[in-house]
Amino acid sequence: MTPDQLQPSSFDLYPPLARSFAVEHLTLLRQLPLTICPSFLAQISDLDTRFPIERKTLAWQCDSLAALPQAKRDALLAPLRAIAMAPELEKLDWVNSPAAFVERLSAHLWSTGQINGFHDASRELFAAIPDQPNEATRLALIVVGQGADTSRASILSKLARKGIRLNGVNPATAQQQLLEAFAKHAAKGQEAYAHWYVDGGQPWVLPESVRASAIQVSYPQLSPLRKRVLERMQSILNTNQANAEKMRSDLAAIAPTELRSGQVASDPILQRFYTELFTSGSGTQIFSTSFVQWAGRELARRAQPHTVLLRYTPRQRHRGFNEMVSDPESKVLDPEGSLVDAEMDAYYNWIEMGRIAAPGKLTVLAWVEGSSKAVMVSPKTKPNTISNQAVTIEQALASFAVV
């Protein structure tokens, strides 16, 4: 079957929202080559349990591509259509198992040396889609360094090169003022799934005013899901046929219901999101630092939050991989290594939020927990500057945050 043969009945096995979306965009889907149509279907088929903004974004992309002049669309799709496909790929059920098809396609593109051509053509195609209207101001608050020696002057150096290093923060009020800043920013918009607090350890208590509108999730809270994923990983390891590819594809195939994700969230959208943090993330199952970074990345990519608070706490000390899978509850922590991890992770969180923020609309503040050190990056900060002035978090945000 090829995309031009798609019919409304092709999507009979899809959930309701997904089916209706596919049928609505059938004209476009029929025009897409087999190299890319299943990638669209992989997103469409999950639409019932995706964030509302993901549905909106996918609709925007499809509508924008459909609205392109035919000649331009044909020209953009031509390089994707020219990619040589293996006959066995064409025989797969790419309509009902699009994610599995995409994985096989990826292996084919690598092995035939066509991966760069595919990436180039995909980039060109998506570059033709105009940006969505995006007026939201976004605030990312990041906390690192719990339990570590934070005396190093170069702390958070990658992020600090992008903004101002604050060396006189009042540590006594910092935690409370961060929470208040989170609540204040979250109060500006009541959109669902727009405000998130992710913690790698025992979470702080959010102000009462924001508990209903913000989503709070922590590594310990998701422990039941994580342990079930680790059990799956252990069973894969026990086959003695595990490799990275098999591990990834086996984990990606796990449905939220298989992990009994209802135990940690009643909302099916959150059930899927939390499940996928462990089934699509690498290292999230064993390191809380990897979990917080990946959660921040996936939130930015998928939920496009307006407000996030990401708190990194010490992960377990590194041991052999198999040992960490079979015995995940180590009490021996590595605060110093975790701080180095979190410094890089905070930099990545800034990059990730920058991808979804409109120009001039993002403020990032990273505080080194328990210390007088913080870094702020916003349109009002100058790159690579330092302030040794005594300041509270509240004052720093008043001076530099975008409102």
Partner: protein, 379 residues
């Protein structure tokens, strides 16, 4: 090629830094008089190291030995492109065949094209003890020889998998492993987590025989020494030095791999592994230069198998993986040291990772079928 501009940007960043370093980038030839080197060691600085954490300005603190000790003694190529598949086994196989191999990275299989070891042994009529590979992972067990017609195991290199040696030792002397920290050596990293614990008794016997007949090391001494080490790469260097002492092979390849722990997302562990690899490369060179069989007659080539994804590539997750195929993941470097190699020299011209096999061939005097080219500066 569409990626030229990106590759050049990666290389330019490295060049800019090197100009500021303490050594000269002149073409002046210093050091000993040119004479043919008759021993060769290839080290892959793996698995997967980016510029940012090595030769770019912000990474220099991680590689003090490469930068300040080794680089002034050798020729450094700033721009090595890997146009193949960015999986560790298939990429390393491509380096040793000089052909961009296309097979499944996750299936242990002999490369379809002849390896460096087979060219070397067949054409120069070298004995089987003269070529060895020390590899980090179970998946590398077939890398010593190819399935190519006219070649094969009879011309291949012996392959030592230190983890498998340790596993065999553990079966033979289980009491040595009770409540022991050595178990972590037996496990592969996040990208290749499984270790084949179902090895047969015959397989174990063969590996114990390797310990005793090739390395001339008792199981007890091997295990005792392993206890003093921190990582699989350190174990590999120990085996390499033992091989040098006991067999003095003319051709040896060593693949370092600790840094692939980056797949777990822990930046500190990735950096620790790079710093360790930097130290181990210096230790190996020091061992070469103090070994009567190797001193002043050995060429050492150090090269990453590939890089890792760029921080700002939305298709990846920065240093964690090597999945995007971007310029950052494909651009690496090569450092060559040896009596015929110009010292204190930086070469900006682009070369490819598959050029290494024909380069060693044209220097040592055997032909290859590689589409790569002999690197003139190292001939």
């Amino acid at each position: 090629m569409k990626y030229d501009a990106s590759f050049q940007a990666v290389s330019a960043s490295r060049r800019a830094f090197l100009r500021g370093a303490s050594f000269s980038s002149s073409l002046a030839l210093t050091g000993s008089a040119i004479r043919p080197a008759d021993k060769t060691i290839v080290v892959t600085f793996g698995g997967g190291a980016r510029d940012e954490e090595t030769f770019a300005e912000e990474g220099q603190a991680n590689i003090p030995n490469l930068l300040h000790t080794l680089l002034p003694q050798g020729t450094f190529f700033t721009q090595v492109r890997n146009a193949g598949i960015l999986g560790h086994y298939v990429a390393t196989a491509s380096i040793v065949t000089g052909v961009y191999e296309r097979f499944n990275n996750f299936i242990a299989q002999p490369p379809p094209n002849p390896t460096l070891f087979e060219y070397f042994r067949r054409e120069l009529r070298r004995p089987e003890t003269d070529a060895w590979v020390i590899a980090p992972s179970n998946g590398f067990q077939k890398i010593g020889s190819s399935s190519a017609s006219g070649f094969g195991p009879q011309f291949g290199a012996g392959v030592i998998l230190p983890k498998r040696l340790l596993s065999a030792a553990s079966r033979n002397t289980p009491n040595l492993f009770d409540n022991d920290q050595l178990q972590h050596f037996l496990q592969d990293n996040y990208e290749m987590p499984s270790y084949d614990i179902s090895a047969t008794a015959q397989d174990n016997e063969m590996h114990l025989d390797t310990l005793e007949s090739t390395l001339r090391l008792s199981v007890q001494d091997f295990v005792q020494h392993a206890r003093t080490l921190d990582s699989a790469d350190e174990l590999s260097i120990f085996i390499a030095r033992r091989l040098m002492d006991q067999q003095a092979p003319s051709l040896m390849m060593l693949t370092l791999h600790d840094m692939d722990v980056a797949h777990s997302g822990a930046f500190s562990l990735y950096i620790d592994a790079i710093q360790r690899a930097d130290r181990l490369c210096a230790e190996l060179w020091k061992a070469v230069q103090s070994h009567p069989e190797y001193k002043d007659r050995t060429t050492v080539y150090i090269m990453p198998d590939f890089g890792r994804d760029a921080d700002d590539d939305p298709a990846g997750n920065g240093f964690q993986h090597h999945r995007t195929g971007s310029a950052m993941a494909r651009t690496t470097w090569l450092l060559a040291l040896g009596p015929h190699v110009r010292q204190n020299t930086v070469v900006d011209r682009a070369i490819e990772s598959i050029d290494l096999v024909p380069t060693i061939g044209c220097h040592l005097g055997f032909s290859t079928n590689s589409p790569g080219r002999c690197i003139e500066e190292l001939r």
